[in-house]
Structure formats: C-alpha cells, structure tokens
C-alpha cells in the first residue's frame, strides 16, 4: 500500500510538473509573486510565534497585507488567463488596473493599521 501511494505521489508530482511547464510565462510570473507573498506571510507567523503577538495590529496588518496581495494576484491571474471563457471580453490592461487599484487601497489601509 505504501509503495503504491509513494509511486502515486511520484507520478502525481511528475504530471503536475509537466502540466505546469505548459503554462504561459506571464502566468508563471504571477504564480511566483503569489508564492513569494505567502512565504513572507509564513515567515511573519513564525516570527510571531517566537516573539509574541504584542502589537497585534502590526502583526495582523503585516500578515493580511501578504495574504491580501496574494489573493489579489490570484484574481488577476484568473482574469488574465486566456483559458477562462468568462473573461475573454476583459482586456488585460483593465484587469491589471483593477489589481493596482485594489493593492493601493490595501496598502493604504495597512499603513493606517500598522500603528
């Protein structure tokens, strides 16, 4: 049972890798940005675990800015992805402008909340 699951996992990883290699470069850049943001959030949570959460608003604003920008990047990816039939009428410039606007609001609120 263990052998089949481990071989399963290996084939899984292989097929995921090969499927992912086929995605266009702009989407890969967005994915990299998302991974970077989530990694920063994880680092902040680990730091909070070590140091304590005293200015809780600062901790929350840091983590939420990372999570927020990651989520917004995923939304951008969805809107820009050519394979999504729902968004084929949406020009990618408009999607990017929405993304920038939302990020602007996000970071303004974060700066107010940072304390």
């Amino acid at each position: 049972m263990a052998k089949s699951t481990s071989s399963d996992v290996l084939t899984l990883i292989h097929s995921l890798r090969s499927a992912y290699a086929a995605t266009p470069t702009n989407l890969k850049i967005i994915d990299l940005y998302v991974v970077f943001a989530i990694a920063t959030a994880v680092i902040q949570v680990v730091y909070m675990g070590i140091v304590g959460s005293f200015p809780f608003n600062s901790f929350l604003s840091g983590v939420l800015s990372c999570v927020g920008t990651a989520v917004l990047a995923v939304c951008l990816r969805i809107q820009v992805n050519k394979e999504n039939k729902e968004f084929k009428d949406l020009p990618p410039e408009r999607a990017f402008a929405d993304f920038v606007l939302c990020n602007l609001v996000l970071h303004l609120v974060i700066m107010n909340f940072l304390g």
Binding site: T5, D8, V9, T11, L12, S15, L16, A19, Y20, F56, N57, L60, S61, L64, V67, G68, V71, L72, V74, C75, L76, I78, Q79, N84, E86, F87, L90, A95, D98, F99, L101, C102, V105, L106, V109, I110, N112, F113
Partner: protein
C-alpha cells in the same frame, strides 16, 4: 380686475397661438421609444425619491423639528461634539459625564458612521453658505438616506430581475412601514443610515458576482466598511455572504467570478472594518465572524483543487491528490478551530446575537437584554402592520425567483429567508427584513403585471398568422395560439385582474400612510392627547424637567435615574448621570436598581456612595402615561436582584401579582421608588368621581398615601407630574 378683464381679450390670442404652436413642438420632438421609457423611469424615480422623504415628515409638521426617543439624543450629543471639537477630539473622547464615577470611552465604543455622515452633510451645507443648525441636519438625515435607499433598491431590482421590478421595489420600500418606523424625521439613529449601507453593500456584492470585476468587489468592500462604521448589525452581512458562497459551492453554481468577488470583498472589507475602534480585532477573534474566515479558507482549497483537476486532465491521479489534500486541509482546519475555541481565543457568540439563535436564552440569563421592548419576539399583528400586502406577495416572489434561478436571485432568496427568520425572533429586526421583502414582492408584482399587460396588448390571433415572416414567427404564433385558443374571455379577465392589482397597491399606499401618521410619528419625548373637548393637549414635561435641571442645579451635580433617561439627561440637561442607555455595565445598573427598590435608609447609603445629588423618576399616575417608572419597576427589581441577592422579587409581589393599592406587599409600599413617585400624591384628585390618590395609569387608588421622606426633599415636579426630581439631603450633623 375689470381693467384686467378688459385688457385680457386682446392679450389672449397671442398666448393661445403660442400655446397651440407650443404643443406641436412637444409632439414634434418625436421621442423614440427608448427615450420615452427613460423619461418615464427617471420621472418615476424622482417622484419616489421625493415621496420617501415627504412621508417621513409627519412629526416635524405636527410638533417641531426635534430629536425623538432616547438613543438619538446620544447620537446628537456626539455629533454636536464632533462638529464643535473636530474629528481628532471625537475619536479620542473620554466622557466623564456619564456612568459616574466610571466614565465612558466614547471614542472607542461607538459606531461613528452616522455622526460622521451628519457632520459631513453639515460641513458641506455650511461651505455652500447655508446657515443650518446641526440639529436640523440630524433630524433630516434619516429621511434623506431613506430616499437614497430607494435609488439603491431600484438598481438592485434591476440587477436581480429587470428595471420594472426595480421601479416597483423603489416604490414599495419608499413607504414600507417596517422601514419607516426607524427612519422618520427626528429618529436620528444608526438604522437610518445602516439600512442604506446594508442594501448598498448587498447590491455591490451581487454586481461583483455577476460581472466578476475587481472594481465592483472593491466598491462592495467600501460599502461593507460604511456598514461596519454605522451599525452593529453588520454581523448579518459577514454571516450571510459566506453562507451564500457556501450554498453556491454546494449546489455547483460556482464560477471564477464568485472567487474574485468574495475574496476581494472579504480581505479588504475585513481590513477596513478593523479600523473602527469599537470593532477592533473581532474579525479574527470572535466566534460570530469565524464563518467568513472558514469559508475564505474553504474557497482557497476548493478552487486550488479545481485548478489542479483542470491542469492534470487525469481523473485517477486527481483522486489520489484529492484524498491527500482533503485530509490535510480538514485536519489542519479542525485542529485550528478546536484549539482556538478551547483556549478561549475565539470567543463564543455573545449574548445579544446568541439570543437570536436561542430566543429563550436572554429571558433566563440576561434580564437586561430581555427587558428591552424591541427585543421581544414578533407577533403576527406586527408583521401585518409593518408589511401589509407584502406578506403574501413575498411567497409569490419566491416562486418567481425559483423559476429563474441565477446567482442574483439565489442571493435575494437567501437574504429574504434568513431575515424573515430573524424578524420572527425579534421585533426590531423587521427593519432588516423590510428591504428583502420589498425586493422579492416587487418581482412578483412586476412579473404579474407584465404578464397581464402582455395578455391585454396581444393582438387577436385566433387565426394563425401567414407565413410571411418565416418559420420562427409561425412557431411562436402557433405556441401563442395554442395558449390563446382555450381561454375565451382572456382579455377581460386580464383587465379585471389588473384592476385588482391596482386596488391592492393603492390600499397598500393608504395603509402605509395611515400607519406612519398614527403609529410611527410620535416623538416619545413630547406626548399628545385629546382633551375633554376634543382639542389636542401637549405634554412637554420631559423637556421642562431637563431644562429645569440645566438651569437650577450646580454644574457638577450627579443625577440618578433609571437608565432609559440617561442619554436625554446628558444631552438636554447637560448634567452627569450614573447610568445611561448604553447599558455596558450591568453591575452599575443593578446598583441603581437596588437603590430604587430598597427602603429609604439603605438607598441613602447607596446614593451617598455614588455621590448622587438629585434623583429623577418618571410618574404617569396623573396623566395616565403608562411608560413610567412604576410600570418598569419590576425590571429594576429583577436586574438588581440578578446581582445583589438581597433584593428578592417575590417580596414585592402579592400572590405573584404586582399591585400598588392597599393590598400591595409592604416592601413595595415603602421602597424608594414608590415613595418618590407617590409623594404628595395622596392629596391629588386626578379624576372626577374618584378618591384622591387615584392612579390613572394603574387604575387603582394607591395603598400608602401618607409618604414621608427623611433623606430626600422634593426639588421639582413638572406641570403634569410626569417627571419628579428630588434633591438628596446632606448627612445630618453628628453631635
């Protein structure tokens, strides 16, 4: 006049000719159908806007432009402070004039949306050089926002169904009594602005789900921020929207647009909401907000799995991946939730909202929530009173919504059903259900009227149409004729039904106007009654008493009264109070309740410990006013007894009955509240043919007519004996 008549004939022909030349020019404009429709729509909306404002002005016309009830006085006082001292002082305000000696951090314990809105309107008008007083702005804020709500209802109806439904929704909500009750002119309370914010947030969210645009989702986040700043009922939004997302996921109607809309709104909305000090970190710590966070994480997992399935293109491989991912996600999620609830980091549902899920909870555990009249369960008569024909149009609208299910109609159905459930639990929440009921009913009305008018306008095609236009029209006409053929008097029946619909809607309008005029336009601070000869008698005792306090007591005097009147005393009397309507400290209120229900000497000790200078009681025995302190007295006993076991409720009752006449319990006849209310009342004849000391509110002759006060002396009694103020005497000299 004669000269004018004489001069008019030669003048008449030119105007007549210009009039006749004027009319052809209107017809000559030859408006296209689309423009005619736009003109009709805009004029209807303009009329509905004015109607929504005008119907709420009854009390301003009958009495004067003043703030009603109790809570609005606090809002007025804070708005006054904001306009005088500026936003920074307002945001960091610590008030030492209420809850003596504790004080209250007003900046951190209020919802600033209403005050900031009124202050902005005031500053705008001042900038345009209109010399208005802030009180006028406060009085008219609620009707103004009610008018704005009708516009939002139009757009929302248009989004759900079509523009016809939007117009009907706007018209229905303009005069719906359930909404009017909390938004008349003078009712300067959070709900007046909050219902506008609620409907706006819902409309923007549904628009975001329909279009999948980040810009609309951002707008809905701002709408949510406005709602959070305005009212504690925002908890409804933060639970309904995740529930809606969950329903869409479960029924398989999800799409990428849902992901974009919910995520953007949740993250940005949560961040914006945490800027309000009163809300603080509740979005990550309170049990009431955990549903939204749970759905947020669920959405990430769900769409990630969806994306993997799409990329892999191999079902077997995907199933193994699914198993691994699901076990990980569920275990992590439940572990986090379990740890959070066990350590108490995630607080459980608080009393006010828990009593919505379990209506019997407050009565047993939290008497102060149970005592508020607005928190009682709703009777059927209240539903009929507040909704009228909308009550049976609501199920009809639900039927139409289920016939044409889309993301938007699913949302409105869920909003309608959940809000109707909560409206059944608590009377006050009929207000939250009103927009949903109006929208769903408008769908029923609009669809029915459309079908009926289509039947009337259909040309007689008993014979099938010629095939000149091709097979499509032939098929359509064949279908139509197959419906037309069996119903001979169809057109007449349709006209009759249409007339019936008009009759119903006109009765609705008459009912709403009557209800507003009779039931919802009373300022509560000024009482009116019919005199013996039918003329109107006004009792302005409340303001008389507060003005007396303002002018005849030292500036640092402390007033003890029941918590209902605290806000009014601080706003109009400008004096420090012991407890007020905020009711944030139950023990302090219980102390006051204990003082009111004890014998005079025990009460004197309590009053001395609180530095009380004056005591204020409300008494309705002379006028028959039934919302006075003697009728509220049992709640004082219950709340006081809830904290201090020395107060026992059965001691004030006789065989479980609450009486004030000769057969009343001895503790009742000698407690402080009784003495203060009935001091010198034994000498007063209130009604012809009744003995002196006849209490008109209870309908009995009082038991203890010979009231002597040892530690207090009477300071002021208003002209109709409604408010009585007593001064606490300093302690006697010790020899």
């Amino acid at each position: 006049m004669g000269a004018k008549a004489g001069s008019s004939p030669p003048v008449v022909p030119p105007p007549a000719s210009s009039a006749t030349s004027f009319f052809p020019s209107i017809n000559g404009l030859k408006l296209k159908t689309k423009q005619q429709e736009l003109l009709i729509r805009v004029s209807i909306l303009a009329l509905v806007y004015v109607l929504a404002f005008a119907i709420r002005l009854f009390s301003v016309l009958r009495y004067e432009s003043m703030i009603h009830e109790f809570d609005p006085y606090f809002n007025y006082r804070t708005t006054l402070f904001l306009t005088e001292k500026g936003f920074y002082e307002f945001w960091n305000w610590f008030d030492f004039e209420s809850w003596y000696p504790l004080g209250r951090i007003i900046g951190g314990t209020l919802y600033p949306g209403l005050m900031v809105t009124a202050a902005l309107i005031y500053w705008t008008l001042r900038f345009l050089r209109f010399a208005v007083h802030i009180r006028e702005v406060c009085v008219l804020t609620a009707p103004f926002f009610a008018s704005n709500t009708t516009i939002v209802a139009y757009f929302f109806g248009k989004e759900i169904w079509d523009s016809g439904a939007g117009l009907v929704a706007a018209a229905l909500i303009a005069i719906c009594p359930g909404y009017i009750s909390r938004s008349v002119a003078g009712s300067y309370d959070n709900e007046g602005v909050a219902i506008f914010a609620l409907l706006l947030t819902f409309y923007l969210f549904v628009k975001a789900v329909n279009t999948g645009s980040l810009a609309w989702a951002l707008a809905s986040a701002f709408g949510y921020f406005y709602m959070v700043s305005a009212w504690g009922g925002y908890v409804f939004i933060i639970n309904l929207v995740p529930l809606y997302v969950l329903v869409l996921l479960v029924t398989g109607r999800y799409s990428m647009r849902l992901y974009i809309a919910y995520n953007c709104m949740y993250v940005l909305g949560m961040l914006l909401a945490m800027q309000i000090r009163f809300v603080g970190f509740q979005h990550v710590q309170s049990g009431e907000h955990m549903a939204a966070m749970g759905v947020f994480f669920l959405l990430q997992v769900f769409y990630f799995l969806d994306w993997v399935k799409f990329t892999l293109n191999d079902p077997k491989l995907f199933y193994s991946f699914l198993r691994i991912a699901l076990t990980c996600a569920i275990s992590v999620g439940s572990l986090a939730l379990g740890v959070g609830m066990a350590t108490g980091y995630i607080s459980p549902w608080t009393g006010r909202f828990y009593s919505l899920l379990d209506p019997t909870y407050a009565k047993d555990h939290i008497p102060i929530i149970a005592s508020v009249s607005e928190h009682q369960p709703t009777a059927w008569s209240s539903f009929m009173f507040d909704f009228h024909i909308l009550l049976f149009l609501f199920p009809a609208g639900l039927y139409f919504c289920f016939k044409r299910l889309s993301d938007a109609t699913i949302f409105i159905v869920m909003y309608g059903l959940t809000s109707m459930y909560f409206a059944g639990v608590m009377v006050r929440l009929i207000l939250v259900a009103a927009p949903a009921v109006c929208l769903i009913s408008s769908i029923a009305v609009s669809a029915t009227l459309k079908n009926l008018t289509m039947l009337i306008r259909a040309k007689n095609n008993a014979t099938p149409m010629g095939s000149s236009k091709g097979t499509a029209s032939l098929k359509a006409s064949a279908k139509a004729s197959s419906f037309d053929q069996p119903l001979p008097y169809q057109r007449n029946v349709a006209i009759a039904l249409l007339l019936g619909a008009f009759y119903l809607l006109s009765r609705y309008a008459i009912h709403c106007t009557w209800v507003t005029s009779e039931a919802y336009s009373s300022p509560s601070i000024v009482l009116a009654a019919r005199g013996a000869h039918g003329g109107r008698v006004i009792f302005d005792d409340y303001r008389e008493a507060y003005f007396w306090l303002r002018k005849n007591t030292p500036a640092d005097a402390k007033i003890m009264s029941w918590w209902d009147y605290g806000y009014q005393i601080t706003a109009m009397g400008n004096r420090t109070v012991i407890v007020d309507n905020n009711t944030w400290n139950n023990t302090h209120i219980a102390t006051v309740g204990r003082a009111m229900s004890s014998y005079e000497d025990e009460a004197y000790d309590i009053m001395k410990s609180l530095d009380v200078d004056y005591v204020l009681v409300v008494f309705g025995g002379v006028t028959g006013y039934s919302s006075d302190d003697i009728n509220k007295f049992l709640w004082m006993v219950r709340i006081g007894g809830g904290v201090f076991s020395v107060i026992k409720e059965p001691e004030y009752l006789v065989n479980g009955e609450y009486r004030v006449d000769k057969g009343a319990a001895p503790k009742m006849l000698n407690c402080l509240m009784y003495k203060l209310c009935y001091y010198r009342f034994g000498e007063v004849t209130t009604e012809y043919g009744k003995p002196p000391g006849y209490d008109r509110a209870r309908g009995v002759e009082i038991g203890n007519k010979d009231v002597k006060l040892e530690y207090l002396e009477e300071a002021f009694t208003t002209s109709n004996w409604i408010i009585r103020i007593y001064k606490v005497k300093p302690p006697k000299n010790r020899w």
